[in-house]
């Protein structure tokens, strides 16, 4: 395997740089995926039948906390990659752990939010609007949950194998995924919640 020392570790082999490029293409596919979910949501937003509408169930408090957590975790995963490029394994692991913990917090708040909705009689089965809301939020939440498991897996590999071209590559790709989830959340924050509470 040829290692190109002039590039950061995560790009250093041909395979590595292919993987990063391939993951960008995959994120490209995630854009129409979420765009379609937003499409469904916007078509459904006023079709709440006998159930509650958005303004009746959205709450600003948990929303701000979860947004803060996700924005901050996106910042810390950026710091983790930065530390990785300087070879600081401990700092890198620390930032990754913070990232994943905040991800976990985000998932916790989302589950709590869903339970509250269900408690208020707003379930997946209630109306077209609620179906589309649950599936849009749920798909994002599923991505975060998957990201959490993935991140734990990478941390175990980092811990066992150290910062190698392979683990650096995985961490970098994971960071792309995590930032992307933040981008999606920004649109959910703005066009689902804030627009719904306007």
């Amino acid at each position: 395997m040829k290692i190109d020392a002039s590039k950061p570790l995560e790009y250093s082999t041909e395979e590595n740089s292919n993987k990063i490029f391939g993951f960008w293409v995959f994120l490209g596919a995630e854009i129409p995926l979420f765009a379609t979910l937003f499409t469904v949501y916007f078509v459904m937003v006023n079709r709440f039948a006998d159930g509650p509408s958005g303004p009746e169930i959205f709450e600003i408090g948990p929303l701000l906390v979860s947004t803060f957590l996700l924005l901050t975790s996106s910042f810390t995963i950026g710091l983790a990659v930065h530390a990785m490029r300087h070879g600081y394994k401990k700092a890198m692991m620390f930032f990754m752990a913070i990232t994943l913990l905040m991800g976990l917090g985000f998932i916790g708040i989302e589950i709590e939010e869903f339970l509250t909705y269900v408690h208020e009689g707003a379930t997946l089965q209630t109306s077209g609007f609620l179906s589309s809301l649950f599936v849009l939020l749920g798909t994002h939440g599923a991505h975060v949950s998957f990201g959490f498991l993935w991140g734990v897996g990478i941390m175990i590999q980092l811990w066992r194998r150290g910062i190698t071209p392979a683990t650096a590559n995985k961490t970098f790709i994971f960071s792309l995924f995590w930032h992307f989830l933040d981008v999606v959340w920004i649109f959910i924050f703005s066009f689902v919640y804030l627009k719904g509470m306007m």
Binding site: Y11, S17, I20, F21, W24, V25, L27, G28, A29, I31, P32, F34, A35, T36, F38, T39, F42, V43, I60, T67, F68, L71, T72, S74, F75, G78, L79, H82, A83, H86, Y88, A91, S175, L176, H179, F180, D182, V183, I186, F187, F189, S190, F191, L194, K195, M197, M198
Partner: protein, 97 residues
Amino acid sequence: MIKQLFPIRHVMGYLASLVLSAAALIVIYGDLSHTANVVVLTITALIQASLQLFVFMHIGESADTKKELYLNIAYALFVGLITLFGTLFIFVWGWYA
């Protein structure tokens, strides 16, 4: 050490994203028109998304695939936006009434 661990670009990017999120709250606490609200949301969201893309995701970093990455995102946005606005065109704005 601290300076190395907290690069200024990232810190600024992070603070900007917090500020922008806070600024977007004007649509619920402020007293703007509906159109102005939507404009505010669109602008703050787009800036935030670009922040992530350019500052945190380093999209412009790799010289040999830079063009391909931009094309990739552009194509994805094309399909996503067409799906979104095309569907709204069919079912909302252009629906036979």
